[in-house]
């Protein structure tokens, strides 16, 4: 079975400071990893994904995430936070073997990011 853990319910950061939203996963074999963001009264928006290759992946709105296989982590980062980044962030994993685990995404519980002036 695959699972995702987002250990922090909320992360607070000052505008201009770097931010990190943590995610760890558990899956058999190699994972496909995703980050989604939900702004207030909006749907889930895709931010970035790790499939293979470079462990540092870049996504929308200046976000990036680092895949660490030994630590089974995929933390979301941004060098300089903006107030407009305040939203709910979800990490998700999909099994990458066609016959295992189906095609569904398994999500974490979400982390509320609050960026203050």
């Amino acid at each position: 079975a695959q699972s995702v853990a987002q250990p922090e319910d909320q992360v607070n950061v000052a505008e201009g400071n770097p931010l990190t939203v943590k995610c760890t996963y558990s899956v058999s074999g190699n994972p496909y990893l995703f980050w989604y963001v939900q702004y207030p009264n909006r749907g889930l928006q895709f931010l970035l994904k790790y499939i293979t290759g470079d462990n540092l992946v870049k996504g929308s709105y200046g976000f990036e995430a680092e895949f660490n296989k030994s630590q089974t982590s995929f933390h979301l980062k941004k060098p300089s936070a903006l107030v407009s980044d305040s939203a709910l962030y979800f990490c998700a994993v999909r099994h990458n073997i066609l016959t295992g685990g189906g095609n569904k995404l398994t999500f974490g519980t979400g982390t509320q990011l609050k960026v203050e002036l």
Partner: protein, 116 residues
């Protein structure tokens, strides 16, 4: 290009009533998924259509939930009769070829269902 659209955006119904949620996926996307987020917990998978066929319905909580995708276009999710624990946000998502497992899914804005 239109994204995934869901109707209604909000629904408040009484326990025991029936509610039908609708999802229109992105045109050309064969894969359609339903997910649910209950009481601030994780977003949980409900089921997966490939065109009009149910590929995986392992996440459907019980037989009060019925999903259909007639003609492989839009999908409906009916809850009958609704119970208090069905309250939550129901998300629909669509994606292209399922063999491309690295392909991201695109989500709708969700339907917030409140059962009172």
């Amino acid at each position: 290009e239109a994204g995934v659209t869901q109707f209604p955006s909000h629904s408040v119904i009484e326990k025991g009533q029936t509610v039908t949620l609708r999802c229109d996926p992105i045109s050309g996307h064969d894969n359609l998924y339903w997910y649910r987020r209950v009481m601030g917990k994780e977003i949980k998978f409900l089921l997966h259509f490939v065109k009009e066929s149910k590929q995986d319905e392992s996440g459907m909580p019980n037989n009060r939930f019925l999903a259909e995708r007639t003609g492989g276009t839009y999908s409906t999710l009916k809850v009958q009769p609704a119970e208090l624990e069905d309250s939550g946000v129901y998300f629909c998502a669509s994606s292209q070829d399922r063999r491309l497992r690295g392909t991201e899914a695109f989500f709708g804005q969700g339907t917030r269902l409140t059962v009172v």
